[in-house]
C-alpha cells in the first residue's frame, strides 16, 4: 500500500518545528506502525536526510515508551492500543496520516516525535512508592490481602506511563496517571500507611509540573492502552480530600 505522511519535524527543543510531507510506497499492511516509521527512516537515510526520531522500546505494548498522535488521536484510531500494536492494515491505501508528538507544556518536545516525559518520573518520585527497609523478601503470607483487593490494585498498577492520557486530555491533565499510582498503593495494606502524605505530595508535584485540571471528560480512559479506569481519579480526589481534612 501507499501512504502519504505528514510528520512533525523539529531539530531540538528550541527549534520552532513544522509538519513535513513524505511519500511511502510499498508499505506492507501487516507492518506495525513503528515498522512503517522504520521504513520511512531507511528511505530518509538512503536520501542522506536525518531520520525521524521517535521513542520506542519493547514493541509489544507493555513498556509505555512509544506514543504519538496519529491522525489527531493518541496512539492512533484504535481504542486501548499502543502505537507499536497498531498495524498499517487499519489505514486505507493512499491515506494521508498526520503524525505529531504528544502535546503538553509538561511534555516538551526534544526532537521530532520524541518528548521529555520526566514530569511523570518526578510525580512518581514525589510519593509513588512505599518506604520499607530493603533486605530479604518478607514472608508472603505475613500480610493478609484479599484477592479482590490484589486484583483492583493490580488493575491500577498496570499503567505503563505512556502519556496518552495527557495527550488526549483537552486540559492536558495527568489525573489518570497520578491517580493510578495513588489508587494502586492506597488499595494495599503496605501502601495505606503513607496514603495521606503520598496523595498530597503527588498531587502537589502533578500541579507543579504544569498539568491541567481534570474535567472528567473520560477521554483518557478511552485511549489508555491499559484501560485504567477513570474511577481511580475519583479515588484520588477522595484520598486527597480526606488527607486535606485529616492532616495534622
Amino acid at each position: 500500500m501507499r501512504i502519504r505522511l505528514k510528520v512533525w519535524r523539529q531539530e531540538s527543543g528550541d527549534d520552532a518545528g513544522k509538519m513535513v510531507s513524505y511519500l511511502l510506497e510499498n508499505v506492507n499492511p501487516d507492518m506495525s506502525f513503528l515498522e512503517m516509521l522504520d521504513t520511512l527512516n531507511e528511505q530518509l537515510l538512503q536520501e542522506g536526510s536525518r531520520p525521524v526520531e521517535f521513542d520506542h522500546d519493547c514493541r509489544e505494548g507493555i513498556c509505555g515508551q512509544c506514543g504519538v498522535m496519529i491522525n489527531g488521536r493518541a496512539h492512533g484510531p484504535l481504542l486501548h492500543t499502543t502505537t507499536c500494536q497498531l498495524h498499517m492494515r487499519v489505514f486505507k491505501d493512499n491515506e494521508e496520516i498526520f503524525i505529531e508528538p504528544f502535546r503538553a507544556i509538561a511534555f516538551p518536545v526534544k526532537c521530532d516525535l520524541k518528548i521529555d516525559r520526566t514530569a511523570f518520573d518526578r510525580v512518581i518520585q514525589s510519593g509513588g512508592f512505599i518506604a520499607v527497609n530493603t533486605g530479604q523478601a518478607p514472608e508472603a503470607n505475613s500480610i493478609p490481602i484479599g484477592s479482590p483487593e490484589i486484583e483492583a490494585a493490580f488493575d491500577a498498577a498496570a499503567c505503563i506511563g505512556c502519556g496518552a492520557c495527557v495527550a488526549v486530555c483537552k486540559n492536558s491533565s495527568a489525573a489518570l496517571f497520578t491517580s493510578a499510582k495513588i489508587s494502586h498503593l492506597a488499595l494495599l495494606p503496605q501502601g495505606a500507611i503513607e496514603a495521606q502524605d503520598r496523595v498530597i505530595r503527588m498531587v502537589d508535584q502533578m500541579d507543579k509540573e504544569g498539568f491541567g485540571h481534570c474535567s472528567n471528560t473520560e477521554a483518557c480512559e478511552a485511549e489508555c492502552p491499559q484501560e485504567i479506569s477513570v474511577l481511580h481519579i475519583a479515588r484520588m480526589n477522595w484520598e486527597y480530600n480526606k488527607a486535606q481534612v485529616l492532616k495534622k
Binding site: 505528514k6 512533525w8 518545528g17 509538519m19 498522535m69 491522525n71 489527531g72 488521536r73 493518541a74 481504542l79 498526520f98 505529531e100 502535546r103 503538553a104 507544556i105 509538561a106 511534555f107 516538551p108 488526549v168 483537552k170 486540559n171 492536558s172 491533565s173 498531587v203 502537589d204 502533578m206 500541579d207 507543579k208 504544569g210 498539568f211 491541567g212 485540571h213 481534570c214 474535567s215 472528567n216 471528560t217 473520560e218 477521554a219 478511552a222 485511549e223 477513570v230 474511577l231 481511580h232 481519579i233 475519583a234 479515588r235 480526589n237 477522595w238 484520598e239 486527597y240 480530600n241 480526606k242 486535606q244
Partner: protein
C-alpha cells in the same frame, strides 16, 4: 506548602460545591414555579403570595446571598481553570480528532456556562430586578403582581424560544456537571458512581423540561 503555584484539586472542589449548591437551588426554584401551572385565578393569587413570602423571609435572604456568592465563585473559578488548562496544553495539534473519544458537552462546559450566564442576566433583569427595584402594581391581596409580569413577558414568542434554547444548554451543562461534581468530590465506588450518573440524567432532564415547560405553557395556554 506556601510556594504551591497551582491547586487543581481544590479549585475543582470549589466548582463542585458551588455547582451542587446551585443544583439544589434549581430544585426549589422549579418547585415554586410549578404553581404557575395551577388554574389562572389560583395561580395568580398563590404565585404572588409565594413571591411575597420568599422576599420577606430572613432565612431566604441569607441563602440568597450564599447563592449570589456561589454564582460568582463558580464563574471566577471556571475562568481560572479554563485559562490554566489552555496554558497547560502548549502547541496545538495540526490535526485534532481527540473529540472522538469524549462527549461534546463534557468538553464545552465553558461555552454552555456562558450561554447560561447570559440567560441569567436576561432572566434577573426581567423578573428579579423589576420585583426588587422596579415599580410593580399590587394584586387584590396587596402583594406585588409578579404573576401578571410573568404572563406578559412569556406572551412574546421569541422570548419563549430563547428560554427553551437556554434550558437545553442548561440541561447539557447539568448532565456533565452533576456527575462530574460527584467524581471531583471522590465518589469512586462503581455502584454509586453509576447511580449518580443515572440520577444525574433524571435530574438534568427533569429540571430542564420543567423549566422549559413553564414559558411554553404560559404562552400557549394562558
Amino acid at each position: 506548602m506556601g510556594q504551591r503555584k497551582q491547586q487543581t484539586l481544590s479549585r475543582k472542589n470549589w466548582m463542585a460545591f458551588t455547582g451542587l449548591f446551585l443544583c439544589s437551588f434549581l430544585v426549589i426554584h422549579l418547585l415554586g414555579n410549578l404553581q404557575l401551572f395551577l388554574p389562572d385565578e389560583k395561580a395568580h393569587q398563590q404565585f404572588n403570595a409565594y413571591s411575597h413570602l420568599l422576599s420577606g423571609n430572613i432565612l431566604i435572604k441569607i441563602i440568597s446571598y450564599v447563592l449570589y456568592a456561589s454564582i460568582v465563585a463558580h464563574v471566577v473559578y471556571a475562568v481560572i481553570i479554563t485559562v490554566t488548562n489552555k496554558r497547560a496544553g502548549g502547541i496545538k495539534y495540526h490535526y485534532d480528532r481527540r473529540g472522538a473519544v469524549s462527549k461534546w458537552y463534557s468538553r464545552n462546559m465553558g461555552l454552555l456556562g456562558t450561554v447560561i450566564f447570559i440567560f441569567l442576566v436576561i432572566h434577573l433583569r426581567d423578573f428579579w430586578y423589576i420585583y426588587k427595584f422596579g415599580q410593580l402594581p399590587l394584586d387584590a391581596q396587596g402583594n406585588k403582581d409578579l404573576y401578571t409580569l410573568v404572563v406578559a413577558v412569556y406572551s412574546e414568542l421569541w422570548y419563549v424560544v430563547i428560554y427553551v434554547i437556554c434550558m437545553i444548554a442548561l440541561c447539557y451543562h447539568l448532565l456533565h456537571g452533576f456527575f462530574s461534581a460527584a467524581r471531583t468530590l471522590g465518589v469512586y465506588h462503581p455502584r454509586y458512581a453509576q447511580w449518580i450518573r443515572v440520577f444525574g440524567w433524571a435530574y438534568s432532564i427533569g429540571i430542564c423540561a420543567g423549566f422549559a415547560a413553564i414559558p411554553v405553557y404560559v404562552h400557549f395556554l394562558k
